[in-house]
C-alpha cells in the first residue's frame, strides 16, 4: 500500500500536514544528533555529565506535537531533550546547558544539563527528584481551569516516576477535579537499573482507571501513534473532559546517564532488539512510503542536520561561563544574600 500525496494516508487522517511531518522529523534528528554529539564531548572530557534521549524521540516528539506551542504548558523530566526542542529550545540552547554556560536558558549554568526550563517557552523548570513536576503540572492545570483559560498542561515522566507519592497525588487530584492535564509516561522499562517488573505492579496505563479517568497505551517508537493518542487526549482535555494517562512503551539506547553502565543490568541482545525498532528509521520508512522524502533527500537532511548540531556545539563551547560574582543572585526576589 502506498497512498501517496493524494491518497488518504495515516498522517492526513490525523490532521497532520506535510510541514508537520518534516518538523517532527527534524526534531527527532536534532535530538539524536545532539545526543551523539554530547556523548562524544563527554568522552573528550568537555562535558562532565550527559543525560541521553536516544530511543525516546518518537514518544517525545509525537506526544509534544499534539500540544499548542505558545499556549499550552510543558512540565517535562530530564530525559526530554526532543520534547523541549519541539517546545522551542534550539540545539544551541541544549549545548549551552550541557557546558553550563551563562546563557543556558534553563538555569544559567546552575543546574546539571537536561534540567529543562524556560518561562518564555512555557517549559516549567524541573529538578532531579523524581515526579515532583507532576504535582506542579496539576497546580498549573487547576489554575488554567479556575481562570477558564483554553490552555492545557502536559507532564512527562518515566515508569519509575509512577512509584512516587507525588505522582499518585497528582493523578488523584486530576481525577477529582477533571483537570486539563495529560500524563505521559515514557516507559523505557528501566529506572536506572530496576526493571519494570520490579517497579510497577500491574500496568502503568491501567492505573488511570483507579483514579477515574482514561488510560491508554501505545507503541512509543511509532511517532504517529504517539501523536494520535496524545492528540485525542489533548482534544478531550481542551473540551473540559478531564485528564488522560498515556503510556508510551519505548527504550533508551544508552545508559541512564554518563555515570551509569547499562551493561551491568541489561542484556545486550535486548538492546540490539530494540535498536531494530528505532523510531527514526521507522519514521523515515513512513515518510518514503507517502512520498514526502526519498533516500537522497533523507541523506541530505541528515548530513545538514549533523553539521548544524556540530556547529551549535562549537559555538556553545566558546560561549562565556557565568561570572562567579552572580552565583548568589536570585535566591530571593527581594533580598540579596551576599
Amino acid at each position: 500500500m502506498k497512498p501517496g500525496k493524494q491518497g488518504k494516508d495515516r498522517h492526513t487522517e490525523l490532521g497532520l500536514k506535510e510541514e508537520d511531518l518534516l518538523g517532527m522529523y527534524r526534531c527527532m534528528l536534532l535530538a539524536r544528533f545532539c545526543d551523539e554529539r554530547q556523548w562524544s564531548l563527554n568522552r573528550q572530557g568537555k562535558a562532565p555529565f550527559v543525560i541521553p534521549v536516544s530511543g525516546h524521540e518518537g514518544a517525545q516528539v509525537g506526544s509534544a506535537w499534539a500540544f499548542e506551542r505558545g499556549k499550552d504548558i510543558f512540565c517535562p523530566y530530564y530525559r526530554d531533550m526532543a520534547l523541549v526542542l519541539v517546545a522551542g529550545f534550539t540545539v544551541y540552547d541544549v549545548f549551552l546547558g550541557l557546558f553550563g554556560k551563562a546563557d543556558d536558558p534553563s538555569s544559567g549554568g546552575r543546574q546539571m544539563p537536561a534540567h529543562w526550563g524556560s518561562k518564555a517557552r512555557n517549559i516549567i523548570t524541573g529538578s532531579s527528584p523524581i515526579s515532583t513536576q507532576v504535582l506542579h503540572a496539576a497546580g498549573l492545570a487547576l489554575s488554567k481551569k479556575i481562570k477558564h483559560e483554553d490552555a492545557i498542561v502536559g507532564t512527562w515522566f518515566g515508569e519509575g516516576g509512577t512509584s512516587e507519592g507525588d505522582w499518585h497525588g497528582a493523578m488523584n487530584f486530576a481525577g477529582i477535579h477533571a483537570l486539563p492535564l495529560i500524563f505521559v509516561c515514557e516507559n523505557n522499562q528501566y529506572a536506572i537499573s530496576v526493571h519494570e517488573s520490579r517497579q510497577v505492579a500491574g500496568r502503568v496505563y491501567k492505573r488511570a482507571k483507579g483514579y477515574g479517568f482514561p488510560g491508554v497505551v501505545g507503541d512509543g517508537n511509532n511517532i504517529l501513534e504517539c501523536y494520535k493518542l496524545t492528540k485525542e487526549a489533548v482534544d478531550r482535555a481542551r473540551a473540559g473532559e478531564g485528564p488522560t494517562l498515556i503510556e508510551l512503551r519505548t527504550y533508551r539506547y544508552y545508559s541512564h546517564t554518563s555515570d551509569d553502565d547499562d551493561r551491568t543490568y541489561r542484556p545486550s541482545a535486548e538492546v540490539q532488539e530494540w535498536k531494530r525498532k528505532d523510531p527514526i528509521p521507522r519514521f523515515e520508512r513512513y515518510l518514503k512510503s507517502v512520498d514526502v522524502l526519498d533516500d537522497s533527500v533523507i541523506e541530505e537532511v541528515r548530513g545538514a542536520t549533523k553539521v548544524e548540531v556540530t556547529e551549535a556545539a562549537k559555538t556553545a563551547e566558546a560561549a562565556d561561563f557565568p561570572d562567579p560574582s552572580t552565583a548568589a543572585k536570585n535566591v530571593f526576589g527581594d533580598i540579596e544574600v551576599v
Binding site: G117, T125, S127, P129, L135, G139, D166, V331
Partner: protein, 327 residues
C-alpha cells in the same frame, strides 16, 4: 481599630485578601465545609466558592506541590498545613522545589506562595500536635520563615506574606490563637519581614524569643521588675530574614543574652543567634549566651507532668533570668 485574638486576625486578614485579589485562594485539609480545624477559614466556602476554597485530599505533598503550580501561573495560593507536625510529606516539595525554583531557574520563575502552619505546644498535643519546625525550614535558602504572635503582627505579616515574591512559611502558634488578644487597625497595613520588635526595654539582660515564648518572657520580666531587674524582651517575629541588628544593639546595652525557644536546642535558632553574637559582638558580652530550649528529645510528651518538663514556663524563665542577671 478592633480587638481580636490571633486566629480571628488570621481569618479576617485572609478574608480581606481574598476580597481584594481574586488570585488569592486557600487550600488544605478541611478548609472548606469545616472552615479549618482552628476555624481560620470559617465561612470562606460560602463567600468565595469551591474554586477558591479548596478542600484537598489528605496529602500534604500534594498541597505544597499544587501550590507551587498555582503560584507558577500567577495565582497567590495560601495553603494550610493542618498541623505543622504533618508537614514532612511536603518537605521535598517545599525544600527541593519551592525554595529552589527561583535560584535554579536563575530568576526566570518565582513561587509566590504562603504555607500557613499552626505549630507549638502547651496544648496537650503531644508528639504530633506540638512541634516547632522553624529551624528545619529556616536552614533552607530560598524560604522565608515568620512567626508572628500578636493579632496586629499576624495581620501585617500575612498581608506581606501574600504579597511576597517568594515562598513563605507562616507559623502560627496554636496556643496564641485564642489566648492572645490585641487591637488591630481596620485599615490595610503591612509589617515587614526581618524586623524584630522590642516588646520591653531594659538594661540588665536581653531576652530574645518569638511565638508564645516572648509572651512568657514578658510575663517573667514584669515580675522581675519588682525586684529592680530590668529585662529587655525582643520578639523576633521573623526567623528568616533574621533581624540581628536589633539583637546586637540590645546586646551592646545589656551585655547579657538569653535566647528562648520551643524548638530543640541543638542547632535551633538560639545556636545561630549565639554564633552571630560571638562573631560580631563578643567583646560586648559580660557572660556566655544562655539558651533556654527543650532538650534533645523527639518532641513534647503528652502527660501534663512530662509536658511541663519539656516546655519552659514563666516561672522557670523568671528563675533563669534572675540567675543570668546576677552573673
Amino acid at each position: 481599630m478592633t480587638v481580636k485574638n490571633v486566629v480571628q486576625a488570621v481569618h479576617d486578614t485572609l478574608h480581606e485578601a481574598m476580597m481584594l485579589d481574586e488570585r488569592v485562594l486557600v487550600l488544605g485539609e478541611d478548609v472548606g465545609a469545616r472552615g479549618g480545624v482552628f476555624r481560620a477559614t470559617m465561612g470562606f466556602l460560602d463567600d468565595f466558592g469551591p474554586e477558591r476554597v479548596i478542600d484537598t485530599p489528605l496529602d500534604e505533598c500534594l498541597i505544597a506541590g499544587l501550590s507551587i503550580g498555582l503560584a507558577l501561573d500567577d495565582m497567590r495560593p495560601v495553603a494550610e498545613i493542618q498541623f505543622a507536625d504533618f508537614i514532612y510529606p511536603a518537605f521535598n516539595q517545599i525544600v527541593s522545589e519551592a525554595a529552589r525554583i527561583r535560584y535554579r531557574s536563575n530568576g526566570d520563575f518565582g513561587v509566590p506562595m504562603v504555607i500557613r502552619a499552626p505549630y507549638g505546644g502547651g496544648v496537650h498535643g503531644a508528639l504530633y500536635h506540638s512541634q516547632s519546625i522553624e529551624a528545619l525550614f529556616a536552614h533552607v535558602p530560598g524560604l522565608k520563615v515568620v512567626a508572628p504572635s500578636t493579632p496586629y503582627d499576624v495581620k501585617g505579616m500575612l498581608i506581606h506574606a501574600i504579597e511576597d515574591p517568594d515562598p513563605v512559611l507562616f507559623l502560627e502558634h496554636k496556643k496564641t490563637y485564642r489566648l492572645i488578644k490585641g487591637e488591630v487597625p481596620d485599615d490595610r497595613f503591612t509589617v515587614p519581614f526581618g524586623v524584630a520588635e522590642v516588646r520591653r526595654q531594659g538594661d540588665d539582660l536581653t531576652c530574645v524569643a518569638y511565638g508564645l515564648m516572648w509572651h512568657l518572657c514578658l510575663e517573667a520580666a514584669e515580675r522581675l521588675a519588682g525586684e529592680g531587674i530590668e529585662i529587655e524582651v525582643i520578639d523576633l517575629r521573623s526567623i528568616y530574614p533574621l533581624d540581628m541588628d536589633t539583637v546586637l544593639q540590645s546586646v551592646g546595652k545589656t551585655g547579657k543574652v538569653m535566647v528562648v525557644h520551643e524548638d530543640n536546642k541543638f542547632l535551633g535558632l538560639g545556636a545561630e543567634i549565639s554564633a552571630q553574637i560571638g562573631e560580631q559582638a563578643l567583646s560586648e558580652l559580660d557572660c556566655p549566651v544562655v539558651r533556654i530550649a527543650p532538650p534533645h528529645v523527639p518532641a513534647m510528651p503528652y502527660s501534663p507532668t512530662l509536658e511541663h518538663w519539656y516546655l519552659p514556663d514563666a516561672d522557670r524563665l523568671e528563675q533563669e533570668m534572675r540567675e543570668l542577671a546576677s552573673y
